[in-house]
Every structure is written in C-alpha cells, then in structure tokens.
Symmetry: C2
C-alpha cells in the first residue's frame, strides 16, 4: 500500500455492509448517473435549473432506475425498500432528488396507497413514465403541521355525481406544492370531504390542474412560490380551487367511498382512525427524506474530510512543515464525531427501510398488525428528525471547516446546505415529529395512535402508562446478552464495554420517560389547565423522544457490526461506534451528572476518551468517507478532488527554486 | 394601550439605550436607506445583483452617510466608531454591507492606517467618493489564517526605483478578494517585501489592477470566484501578478520604508512586532463584522418573533382556539435565549466600538499604550467569534422556526443565513481567533503579542503565567461591588443575584485558564513534542477563550443596565440579562457540575428558571425586537409584516359564513 492507499483504502466488506440489502440499486445509480446531464452545476438561474431537473427526471424515468415502488401489475417492481434507496442515491442534485420524491413518492405513492384499481390502471403507468407529472397538494398556507385542520373542501353533488373542490380563503390555498408552479398536470388534493351535509374529515382526490397545453384548468389558479433558499430546481407553487368539479371516481377510495347518491361508507368507522390510517400509508416519504439527508451529510463530510487531509496551515515548530487541518484536535473534534453519528444513522436507516419493505411485502415478523404499523410510523418520525437535524448541523460544520473555499458554490457545500435546510421542516416539522415519537412511547402503541395534535398527548397519553418498557428493535438476543453481561450501574467499568454503553442509554430513556409520564398524568386529571401542564413539559417530551431514538440508533449500529464477518471491518466499526456513543454521552453529560449516572471524574474521562478516539480515527477518516461510495463526479468539489494537492506541489516546487 | 401596543410597545428609553452613543448615525440610516433602491430583493441574478449593490454604494457615497472613518483633513469625519455603526446599519442587503466594508473599511482603512500623507492626499478623497473602487488583497488561496505565510513577493529594484510584484504559483494567487472580479481599480496588496536580497516580512503596497476602461493592467490577471453561498452582490475574485512594477512610493510606508537605493528602515526593529503592529491597525474590520453579524441576527429574530406571535397551529383543548407558536414552550426555548444573548452581545459590541473609538481619538483612559491595543485586538477577536457563531446558529433557528415560509426568499431568512455564513470565516477564522484570545490571556499582554500561529502559544505562553487575573472591562466599581456583596460559593443563594452570576462566570474563567496554563507549561519545557501538547489542549484553549468572553459580555450587559435611569426599562433588561446568564449556565452546566460549582439539584433549578423566564418574557418578545429599530422596509418579510394576520382574518371571516 502506498501512503495514499493507507489513507483512503478501506476493507471491501465495509462497503458491502454499507451498501446493504439494496446494493444493486446503489451500484446501478453509481454507474448510470454520470456524464454531462448529471454533473452538479453551480449558479444556474431558476428556470434553467428547473428545466435541467425535469430533463434529468425524464431521463431516469426511461431507465430501469424507475418504478421500484409501484405494483408489478402496472409495470413497477414492487420493491418499496428499493424505491427509498434509489431516491437517496440522487446526490448529484438534491432538486432532482426532491422532484423524484414528489412525482413517484408523494404523487404516485398516494395514488398507489390510497387509490384502488381504477386509479392504478388509469394513472400509474403514466406517473412512472413522467407522461403525467403530478403534485401532492396537502399543505395549506394556514395549516402545515396540523393536517386535520386543512380547510379546502370537497363537497359531493349527487345531481351531477361530482365533487366540488373549493379554497375558502387565502389561508386555505395549497402552498409549497412541488411540481405545481410549472410542470404538474394533476394533483392529489387533500380536502375536507362533505356529503349529504356531513363532514367526514380529510380525504384525497385526483384533480387535474393543467390541460394538455399546460394552461391551468378552469377554476384552478396557480402561483409560483418564487425563489427559495435552495431546491430551486423544484417548481413549488400555490394552488387555489374555485368550485372545481371532478367526477365521483376522482376520490382515492381505498379507505372510504361515496356512492352515487352521496352515501358515505368506509371500512374504518372512526374519522380519526381512518385519517391516521390514510396518513400512515404515506410513511415512506419521511423515511426517504431521512435517507436523502443522510446522503447529503455523507457528501459534505466526504468533501470536508478530503480537504482537511491535504489542506495545511501553520508550521509545526519541530519540523517546520505545515500541519494538515485533519491533524488539529479542534478540527478532528468538528468532523469525526459527526462522521461516527453519520455511520450510526446509516445503519438505523437501513434497518428502518427493511422494516418498511417487509411490512409491504408481507415478509418477516412485522406482519400487517396495527401495532407494527404504529411502531414503524414512530420510528420513521424519529429517524427523520434526527437525520435531518444532523444534516443541518453537520453540513454547516463542514462549510466552516473548509473556510472560504467552503463558501464557493463550486465546492458544493453551499448547495448541500441550502437544499437540505428545509428537510427539518417538510414531511413533518421535526419538533412536531419528536412529540409524535414520545406519544407513541407513552401510549405503548396499544391505543389508537391518533392526533398529530401534540396536545392530544396531554389528554390521554399518560393515564394508563405503566412504566417504560425498553423494546429492542434490532438483534434482540445479541443486545440482551451484551446488556446482561455488562457490569452494574455505578461501577467504574470500561467505558468501551458495549453492554455498559447500551445499558446507559436504555437507562436514560427509561428514566426520562417515566418522569415525563408522571408529569403528564397531572394534565389528564386536571382538566382545564391541561394545556399548561403539557406546555411546561414540552422540552421534557422532546428529550424523551431523543433519548429513545438515540438508543434505537445505537442498537442498529451494534446489530450491523454483528452482521459483519471481516475482522478488520469489525475492529474499525467498533471504534466508530465507540466514538458515536461516547460523543453522544459527552454531549448530554449534564443529564448523566444531574441524575448521578456518571460521576464528575467519569464524565471527564468520557471527554478524554472522545479526544483519544478522534486522534485514533483521524488517519482512517478518509477511508471512512470513501467507503460511502459517492463517485467523484457527484462530490464534484475541486477542493476534495486533488486541486489543493496540485497547488501544494506547485508551492513545493516554487520553494525549491 | 391596545393589545397590539402591549405586545409591541417598548419603553422609549430602551431604544435610546440600544441606539447608544452613535444614535444620530442610526437614525440617519433609518431615514435615508429607503425606497426602491434600498428595498431588499430576492432572486436577483449575480450580475444584476452586483450592479444594484454598486449603485447603492455610489448613492451612499454621495451623502453624509459616508466618510465617517477618514481624516477630516481629506474630507472625512474622523469618527471611527461612527464608521463601524454606519456599516452595521446596512441591513437592507448584506452584500452592500460587505462591499462598503471592502471599499471604506479594508481598502480605504488600510491606506489610512498603513499609508502616509502622500497616500492619503492622493487617494482618500477618491476612495470616499467611490471614484477609485479598490481591493484589500491579503488572503491567498494557500494561506488564509496564516497571514505571515503569504507568498506573493514585492522585490525592490533600485535600478528603476520600483517594486516588482509576483505571484510565484497558484497557491499564492490572491483569493476571495472583494471588489476584484468586476469593479476594483487598485488593490492594497500584501506581499513579502524583499530588498537588497533580504526579506523583511509582509508589507502592503498599492497596485493598480485595472485601467480607466476597466481592463486588467499589464501583468495582472483577474478571475471571478463565481457564485457563492451568499453575498453574490459582492464581486469576489482572484488576482495573479506577473512581475508587475509599481513605483517605490506605492509602499504604504507608515511602519517601514525603502530608500531609493534599497535600504530598508522601520521605526520597529522586530519583523514580527512590526507585522503585528500593522495588522493591529486593521482591527476595525473584525469589530465591524461582529456588528454586521449582530444586525443580521436582530433582523432574523425580528422576523421569527413577529411571525411566531401571530402564527397559530393546533387547537387549545379548553378554548378550541388555535395556539400562537410563541406560546409553545419549545418555541420560546428556541427564540428567547437567543434574543437575550443578542441583547448581551449588542451591549458588548457598543462597548468595544467605544474603546476602539477612544483609542483612535485619544479620548478616555485607553491611551495609545501597546497593552491597551493588544487588549482591544483580543476583545475584537473574541466578540467577532462569539457574534458570528451566534448569528449562524440563531438565523438557522429562526429559519426553522418559520417552517416552510422561512424557506422562501421573500421572507428574507434564506438570504440572511446565506450571506452571514461566511462571517465565521472572513476577517479571521473563528477557531483561530479564539486561540488568539486565549493566548492574550495567558501572556497577560505583557509580552510581545506576536504570532497568529496558534502553536506559537505552546512555545512561550504559559512559561511565566502566574495565575488568571480577572480584569474587569466595564463599570469596574459597580461590578466589584456586586461581586463582593454576593453570597459565597457553594451557597444555595438566589440564582437571580447578579453578583453571584458574575462571580460564577469569573470563577469558571479563572479555573479553566489556570488549568490550561498548567497543561501548556509542559509544552514549553518538553521541546520536541510541543505540538502534541498544544494539540491535545486545543479544545481546552477554545473553552478558556469562550469562558473569558462570556464573562466580558455579561459585564457589558450589567454596565448597560446601570446606565439606564428608567425603571421599566431596567426591570425589563434585568430579566433579559437573567435569561442570558442562566441560559449560558444551563448550556455549560456539565462543566459547572463536573467542577462542583453547581449541585445536581441546583443545575436542575437553573433549567426550570430558564423555562420560567422564557414564559415571562414571551409576551414582551415582540417589544424587545421592535426596540432594535429595524424599519419594516428592511425586514421586508411579508410573514413579519401583517400577511399572516390578514390571512387569519380571512379564515375567521370564512368560519363565520
């Protein structure tokens, strides 16, 4: 091995493990998404960018990279997990990623999940081929997180057997809708369904929004959201409906239908339960966003780590040589714990995608029971929140770590930052999502999951909560064994003992959750000040969700290491996992100290060991980012692809003259 | 008072206090920077944006808003403090702010500070009028933070009495230079001065880079840096010099000169000391950046707070009314501690600007002694780092707090985020700057300040460090009195006791600094592994600087409250100050626990009191942001200026129908 190999070479099994179950889809994307059309480009105007992304999307639609998520009956591949992985591979331009998500994930996904055969046959082939570009018109200006509060109406008129879709006022216009401003021809519109004078809650209908020439349909008004922080290759828009009539059959009627005479029927009695069942089928969107955030984070880290390995600044006093940024402890501290967490989240994501896939294909033990579905939804919400916040924070750090060069569009970090910024917001605001996670834990999935409304929790969640039960999600028996073999709490045992680490995070989760339940129980009993009790506990709610998710992520990491048979890979991943856990413990060490889980001395030792792991892993950092398998053409940043090295050789040559 | 007044009204003295010593300049800017030309606009193309900013700059140059920082002898106002305040008022477009900073602060400022009468007379009037747009060509691609490592050369040729300026290779090209890509005609170029075969370190010369037609001068090559994350109204570029000859008089010769025969002379013997004296005169740039970051933070908070006060989501169970975002504890937690810290940094900035101003005008006690200058430089470095990191974090939070609306350019947050992102990098990378602060504390300003090189610290800093001495910077006697009246350490005294708060932060600073000195002393004694010792201590170095700066900021806040005679204003500011201190303590409570400065119980109480203060202050949040006095035209964001309220009335009207 040359020096460069030492630095960049990684054990082959590491790549295999990271590529995971859908490695073929990853390899295909690496091979196909190349050349001029898929090269990341900086500084495009908005219209130019939209045009380019549409062309990219059409190109992909014509290849075997499309159709993963759709029924084989209509030309798809029945591979839901594959559709998520294919989405996350669109790193070359996140506008393309999001546009794909809108077309196939949200628009097509809603037709697939909420529609019935008549919709599938009529539309899915044209959705897949991009002949029918479409929108997912859920969010309104006035109601984003609170989906049950949507105010667009779809009132059934038995005289003509049509629904009349209406936007009552500007607060109820559809907003931020991808594909709306320019390309979309049809929209899945979420509206309050009214028939025979009775409202039945939010349902979805197919509404044509533009004719074949691209002009808005009668009664439909469309406006452009205009320039955004990023994702300007996606044409987000606003839509108003002025008594727009669509046939009765436009209702996506898997979970509810309206008879010609206007009679409403549904296999699910409760409006609330039906609503959340419908929403639940759309869980893939959140999982996809988490995966996309992960990809962007990996790209940013790859750029920053590769630059830090060759960029040198300030002389080392003993040698007179300039020191590589990656050799500075402060720089290691910025990049390496973030890299370790990126690995952890990668494995948690892989596990989540598998769970989703198995529920869809009826494989595995998940089955189709409601409890399993609720667990999946909560997990998806939690991973989405963790991964997107991690992306925001890490890409920011990477930009700063690359200094002025990181501020230039040519080095991709600005675009990655701006594009992912809204990931913490769309497909569910992260703060709201974490409340959903906590609620799921408190109700232990036994009750109707109900209500996105965070206050709903205070109303009934804690009433019959009997105490936190840690339900392991991955490699149950292995983790059980590790935990029981670990030395007891309070012992000054080895910080590197995996069982001790697991137990530490479990114990935190249990304690935070039990405390939260005690607090909220007061809300259930005290009537009118329920809101105040809930509100005061809100930061506690968010901590509980974070503590839970961090434990779940660690278990996924431990399970992934266990799947790995190559010793070199295991050893490397063991160190990365140690860095993930110990830096997580360090970050929250105030909690461990306040609750006497760590002594002051031991907390300081944690900090020292994080330092030590950073130093140990920094020579392997480049190998660790290379193992993500992001082709140079996607990274695109000159500073990460030899430009800095070329300049340094120029400098060395000049110095010899 | 109506409800709206209650929410938005603030005591008049609060505005007076915030506007401070240079209130006339602030008022003038509010009055003049209006109308179509100064309206923030979204989605401009790069060239269009540059053109607009140039026009804005020329317009300002023709008014009484220009010239603050220049000698009255040449048409300026001899008001250095005023120049910083005028800069920070350019909130309508941060590209304009930065372009002003380049032209008058860096380019003009270098001529003023490093040049002599011949340069002043020849150029300053044309710099002020924008007849001569110019560049500050210090940074090279290969050397940014390490300014002493610059590699451009200026070799004196006695035969023609000229300097020959040369870029030896691509690593030494000037990079990220504002005004270079399009508008600049001349540059202050920093280069290694060589005469009679001897190098004398980095000096600055005036080099014409474009002729009257705007074509590059012979031997000068200029390239555009291209699109950046933000600040695209500033034309950053790269410059190469191929044996460009400039007359001997082009050397800015306040601190060093070269005689016609090539003899070098300087009033300062040591190359190192001379270099840092020269750099020190440029301290205003860092102070300005801190002020600019503060302004952007205020604008972002004003937008997010005003939106949160009217945006409602999810019903309150007892009333059925939707709840305003600002009433949610989690939302208060995101915005209010950030707002409190913004106040604290504002007062620290005002104090810093006054110190700078007094040193320049010879007022006050600072005098012109070297120690005072070094203190000022360290303070400027620290405030710049704290303020710009605070801006990055807070503007990010504000974007997220506004959800999808915060992602639209029309609501200004994307531009504020993207524009300020590089503030943590330019005028000194924050990590390097904090090392400078720590070094200043260890050497207690008694030694030559020397070396931007962070390793320099390990070489000599800790050798004769006798223990941290807390030197108070503001309202010395008041703070002395408060601290001595506070109950002793370890007591369960009132968390709201200002003396206790001050002492807590002092004590942390002293402890961290003493520990650091002990660590680094080993580096001084152990020779070859000095780098390793320094490197291992780097996170400790950064903590020491942060602890110091946070104490300084608190003292400035306390001093500002003391200047205030209106009881209502004092009471309000006292609560804001409590929130600043207690949230700072909360954030670093792991340290206080580890070092037994707080018990676990007391640490939990700190968290509870931060919650309580958030709840107390949230009804006053809008008044607190209004007091910043940012005109609506500068905020520009529809969501902060009544659009959301209009939509809600539409919704209410629809509900009544």
């Amino acid at each position: 091995m040359t020096d460069a190999d030492e630095r960049t070479g990684y054990p082959p099994e590491l790549r295999t493990l990271l590529d995971g179950r859908w490695r073929d889809i990853r390899e295909l994307a690496r091979e196909k998404l190349r050349g001029e059309l898929f090269r990341p480009v900086a500084g495009l105007g908005m219209e130019e960018h939209r045009e380019r992304v549409l062309e990219q999307l059409r190109t992909i639609a014509a290849t075997e990279m499309a159709g993963h998520g759709f029924s084989a009956d209509y030309g798809g591949k029945d591979d839901v997990g594959g559709s998520v992985v294919a989405f996350e591979m669109l790193v070359c331009d996140l506008s393309l990623m999001v546009k794909v998500g809108v077309q196939w994930g949200l628009f097509g996904g809603a037709i697939q999940a909420l529609g019935t055969e008549r919709h599938h046959a009529a539309y899915l082939p044209r959705v897949m081929s991009m002949e029918l570009p479409g929108c997912f018109a859920m969010t309104e200006t006035g109601h984003g997180s609170d989906v049950q509060g949507l105010r667009t109406t779809a009132e059934y008129d038995p005289a003509t057997e049509e629904f009349v879709v209406t936007t009552p006022d500007d607060a109820a216009r559809k907003d931020y809708i991808g594909n709306a401003a320019r390309d979309g021809r049809m929209a899945v519109v979420f509206a309050q369904l009214i028939t025979q004078g009775t409202g039945h809650g939010v349902h979805a209908l197919l509404v044509p929004i533009r004719d074949a020439d691209g002009s808005p349909m009668p009664g439909v008004r469309i406006a452009d959201c205009g320039p955004k922080a990023g994702l300007n290759g996606v044409d987000n828009g606003r839509i108003w409906f002025d008594s727009v009539r669509v046939p009765r059959e436009a209702l996506l009627n898997r979970y509810a239908d309206v008879a010609p005479d206007g009679t409403y029927s549904s296999p699910i009695d409760s409006d609330n339960r039906r609503f959340f069942t419908m929403l639940g089928t759309l869980v893939r969107g959140r999982i996809s966003v988490a995966g996309g955030a992960g990809s962007a984070t990996k790209a940013a880290l790859a750029i920053a780590v590769k630059y830090a390995a060759v960029r040198r600044q300030f002389d080392r006093p003993d040698t007179g040589e300039e020191v590589a940024l990656l050799d500075y402890r402060a720089h290691q501290r910025r990049l390496l714990p973030a890299l370790a967490r990126t690995y952890a989240l990668h494995f948690a994501q892989e596990e989540l995608v598998s769970t989703l896939h198995e529920r869809h294909s009826g494989e595995g033990t998940g089955g189709s029971d409601e409890r399993g579905q609720r667990e999946l939804e909560a997990r998806a919400a939690g991973i989405k929140a963790l991964s997107t916040w991690h992306a925001t924070r890490t890409i920011q750090t990477c930009r700063e770590a690359c200094g002025g060069a990181g501020y230039l569009e040519e080095n991709r970090l600005p675009q990655l930052k701006a594009d992912t910024d809204v990931f913490t917001t769309f497909e569910g605001d992260n703060t709201v999502l974490l409340q959903l996670v906590a609620k799921g834990l408190l109700t232990d999935y036994r009750q109707e999951f109900g209500d996105l409304d965070p206050l709903g929790m205070a109303r009934f969640a804690a009433g019959q909560f009997l105490g936190a039960v840690i339900e392991r999600t991955a490699a149950r028996s292995l983790i059980e064994r590790l935990v029981s073999a670990a030395p007891g709490r309070g012992d000054e045992s080895d910080l590197y003992d995996r069982g001790w680490q697991l137990r530490l995070l479990e114990d935190r989760e249990k304690h935070v959750l039990d405390g939260l339940a005690r607090r909220l129980r007061r809300a259930g009993s005290s009537g009118s000040d329920a809101f105040e009790v809930f509100n005061a506990a809100q930061p506690h709610v968010l901590s509980a969700a974070r503590a839970h998710m961090e434990r779940v992520v660690l278990e996924a990491f431990v399970a992934a290491i266990d799947r790995c048979s190559d010793k070199e890979t295991r050893d490397l991943l063991d160190r990365v996992c140690d860095l993930f856990v110990l830096s997580a413990v360090e970050e929250d060490r105030a909690w461990f100290l306040e609750h006497e889980r760590l002594t002051a001395t031991r907390a300081k030792t944690v900090t020292q060991q994080v330092d030590r792991l950073c130093a140990q892993l920094s020579p392997r950092a480049e190998a660790l980012v290379d193992a993500f398998g992001l082709p140079d053409e996607w990274l695109a940043a000159p500073i990460a692809l030899g430009e800095e090295e070329r300049r340094r050789s120029g400098q060395r040559a000049a110095a010899r003259r």
